[in-house]
Symmetry: C2
Subunit: 256 residues, 2 copies
């Protein structure tokens, strides 16, 4: 999963067609950038000045470079130069159209086509307007219809949310970004260390009169099971042995 996300043989572009809400344009810019993409093209947006509107800039939340290099064009054709694989985010029209696929499975296959023989590829994701979606004529041009799997009773995905999910899935398919552990990985206690802790605790529990050595029932095996399930670290064994020691010392004082 940790390949270099900048190197695969794909150029990626997000194309928003006839978008109505400036907020969605800003949120889309942010969604792209957060997944490491930067090509945004708007076809006939409702507002000619959408890239400079306050709501756009607020919702972009710092993705200004994506807005700065975004292009506004009149026709879908102008948005597609260099693009070799077009993904509609739409249902396939009922009569006819490209196959409908879930993003995850489609992207896994698509990413595998990044071979030297395949040459440079351009992948465009097309998003229709908030109200009407994509026109059938635009869908017919596409290689695939992407359908994000949603609640059958409520499939109303926000435009920017759809951009975010697609950008995320495509980035994952391209190798993704690594998740950095903030802390050093713990060192697990081994079985003898857990047994040593249990013996120490047993003494302490007897000393504080919680455990009756004549009738121990299943207390120690129960604690053993708990510690096994918790997968104790060595540090935790030290802490718990410290507790046992303090219990023994306190009990010793109490009995004087």
């Amino acid at each position: 999963m940790q390949t270099d996300p900048s190197s695969p043989g794909f150029r990626t572009r997000f194309v928003l067609i006839q978008t109505s809400h400036a907020g969605n344009v800003g949120a889309a810019a942010r969604a792209l950038k957060v997944m490491g993409f930067d090509e945004l093209v708007l076809v006939q947006p409702r507002w000619a000045n959408v890239l400079r509107r306050q709501e756009t800039i607020e919702r972009a939340s710092g993705a200004n470079d994506v807005l700065d290099k975004a292009r506004i064009v009149e026709t879908l054709d102008e948005a597609l130069e260099g693009m070799t694989h077009l993904c509609a985010t739409a249902m396939t029209p009922r009569d006819f159209g490209p196959p409908t696929r879930a993003p995850r499975e489609h992207f896994a296959q698509l990413a595998q086509t990044a071979t030297p023989e395949a040459g440079a590829q351009g992948v465009a994701f097309l998003f229709g307007s908030e109200r009407f979606g994509m026109r059938n004529e635009d869908v017919y041009r596409c290689h695939t219809c992407l359908s994000i799997p949603t609640n059958p009773a409520f499939g109303s995905l926000n435009l920017a949310a759809a951009v975010q999910l697609i950008a995320y899935e495509w980035r994952q398919a391209l190798g993704g970004y690594a998740v950095q552990e903030a802390t050093t990985p713990p060192v697990r206690a081994d079985a003898p260390q857990v047994a040593g802790l249990l013996a120490h605790l047993e003494q302490a529990l007897v000393a504080v009169d919680f455990l009756d050595p004549e009738a121990p029932k299943k207390l120690m095996p129960r604690l053993n099971a708990l510690f096994n399930r918790a997968q104790l670290t060595q540090e935790e064994v030290h802490i718990l042995r410290g507790v046992a020691k303090a219990m023994l010392q306190t009990a010793s004082k109490a009995s004087k």
Copy 2:
């Protein structure tokens, strides 16, 4: 991937802590619902009336039932009754804390724990405020820190976008929703059908004086390669043979 999404042994809740923007609360409600979840709890939101604010309702875009049953509480504890597995959406604090995991891999493991022996489980996803994220004390309580893999140079994910991605990944891990093909799957042409088409086309190309039968070069093998790559359907073979037939008829008229 097509198991019943309503049946796994998990109750799921989204907990937003000290959320500032009403729009994010509405968008979060929509994001949940679109992935088939409905439990939203707000801990100390900035606006006491956030569930009834105009911006909330607009951005919820029809997910009113989620807003209607959403709860507002004063403390995180009140938000967590019935929850047995807490996922912070936050970086692990530098000093100490639960392990940091990517949602996809963590959810795959978590979903596998839905066994009869495990009993009923409650999974809560905790989201901090837009400005300050989660408090360390709240993170320490969690079983896992989820880190959505993002652009190392711009990890600024919108709160509602994060809710959408987590809801999507968790739904996928729970079995997901099926993607419905809108059209019937195509019937591929078999090799003899493609060969029949090529023979028909060859005649037509000779008839319109495009192909010189004395010097055919590699035209027909090239068309064969193109058709193989395109994985022709039977319907397409019929269309192309119709074209060949029309070419032959026109050529026959032209030569009269």
